[in-house]
């Protein structure tokens, strides 16, 4: 009776242990996954903006070259026989020379975004790592082998078939090993996440600042384009109105330009990289038990980031389509 009570007590302890360890780091799976997908969405949007702005940049540089305000030359050690290639560069009045035509206006910015993507992916890899499951499989395999050894030894000794000792203890042993490994793995994962977010905080802060300013400069350029179309449509509307020649078509053009401008102004407010910084800060505070940030606060912040990243993408896509339609 006493033995049975001890066994039940032991099993209950193991079960509670397993449940506790299983829910600890697993809780972070969805939010860390959301953090990763949100940053991925923002990166895709910034890359699309980079392509657009690079095209504009090349056109402006080309115009500057034609007007004589920018110098176009060949790159050192290029464009001559036996050289490895022929590449051009432009020399603005101020600043260093730049390869022309440029493939991206933000080559370093893209490196930073790739590093940010890798950081989020690394956090996700740690949360998703199925070490405990792999260890469980190996433990079960090892116990299976032990049972067969026991059987083989008994046969060799010519012993009659009896209740297996390994069989009797394999379940609690497996549970104990799995619980211990599960708890240990969770501690390793938790500490890795807490340390990474703590160490990365000042860098993420600067990197988010950098990309936030970059995204703002991009949207500011897009906003200027949309406002230009709006002011021109407004001026045409005014002129027709003053001359008494206002038509439905001119009213429609004015209304459409206002709608396109409205879309871009809303994109600036989405600010996904600012939201990334806020979400990362709260996650770091929660993991490191700083202040009174709860798990719910950190997750809500990540949810906000996810929505903002999607809004930013949707708005910029919508503006791209509206701009195409308006020619």
């Amino acid at each position: 009776m006493k033995t049975h009570f001890a066994a039940w007590h032991f099993l209950l302890f193991i079960t509670i242990g397993l449940l506790l360890s299983a829910c600890a780091v697993d809780t972070y799976k969805k939010p860390v996954g959301d953090l990763t997908s949100a940053i991925e969405t923002s990166i895709t949007t910034v890359q699309a903006l980079d392509k657009k702005i690079t095209k504009v940049r090349n056109e402006r540089w080309s115009k500057g070259v034609a007007e004589g305000t920018i110098l176009l030359t060949t790159v050192d050690n290029s464009c001559a026989e036996q050289e490895s290639g022929c590449t051009l560069e432009i020399h603005p009045r101020t600043g260093p020379p730049v390869l022309f035509p440029a493939k991206s206006v933000i080559p370093k910015g893209l490196v930073g975004l790739t590093a940010l993507r890798a950081y989020a992916a690394n956090l996700k890899a740690i949360v998703d790592e199925d070490t405990a499951d792999a260890v469980t499989a190996s433990t079960n395999k090892a116990l299976g082998s032990l049972k067969n050894i026991e059987k083989a030894v008994a046969e060799a000794k010519g012993d009659p078939p009896a209740a297996s000792v390994i069989n009797a203890y394999s379940q609690p042993v497996a549970s104990l090993v799995n619980w211990a490994v599960g708890t240990y793995v969770d501690v390793v994962k938790y500490h890795a996440l807490a340390k990474a977010t703590r160490d990365a905080d000042p860098v993420i802060r600067k990197l988010a600042d950098y990309h936030q300013t970059l995204a703002q400069a991009f949207t500011s350029y897009e906003s200027a384009i949309a406002r230009e179309a709006f002011v021109n449509a407004q001026t045409a509307f005014d002129k027709a109105s003053d001359e008494g020649s206002l038509t439905q078509a001119k009213v429609n053009t004015y209304v459409q330009a206002a709608a396109a401008y409205d879309v871009v102004l809303k994109a600036s407010a989405a600010d996904p990289l600012g939201a990334f910084l806020a979400a990362h800060t709260k996650l770091k505070q929660q993991l490191n038990r700083e202040g009174k940030i709860t798990l719910a606060d950190a997750f809500a912040s990540i949810e906000d980031l996810k929505q903002r990243a999607e809004t930013f993408k949707e708005i910029m896509d919508a503006f791209g389509k509206a701009a195409e339609q308006n020619g």
Partner: protein
């Protein structure tokens, strides 16, 4: 050369200046239009001229905003601290990859134990077979 922070600050300040002026011009245009409409007549020639001036100034501000945006993008690319920042985030990613390797090591140990047990199982079976052959 400037730091990222200095570029960011300068961009914000200059953009805020452009926005303030643009908003004031948009408000002035609206005021002229509404007052003329409420007075029941069209715009006076001076008001038409002022609206044209407003539109022209707004277009100049738009050009300034484009130059500011492109200049900011360029300045961020060559900011003093951008290379250090990229190195730092690279270092953090390396640390995270090490942590992941640590988790994989635990997995590898368990696999080793399992494979040792499997080898021992084969050895035991061999011994049983040998024992059976003994006279």
């Amino acid at each position: 050369m400037s730091t990222i922070e200095e570029v960011r600050k300068a961009f914000k300040e200059q953009l805020a200046g452009i926005a303030e002026l643009d908003q004031a011009l948009a408000a002035e245009r609206k005021k002229i239009k509404v007052m003329a409409f409420k007075a029941g007549g069209g715009l006076k020639p001076s008001e038409i001229a002022r609206c044209k001036e407003i539109a022209a100034t707004r277009l100049e501000l738009i050009e300034a905003q484009k130059v500011l945006a492109l200049g900011t993008i360029d300045a961020l690319e060559i900011a003093d601290d951008v290379d250090d920042l990229l190195k730092e985030i690279g270092f953090i990613n390396d640390q995270l990859e090490d942590d992941l390797k640590k988790l994989k090591t635990i997995e590898a140990y368990a696999e080793k134990v399992a494979s040792f047990a499997a080898s021992a199982e084969k050895l035991a079976q061999k011994l049983v077979e040998l024992a059976a052959k003994l006279p």
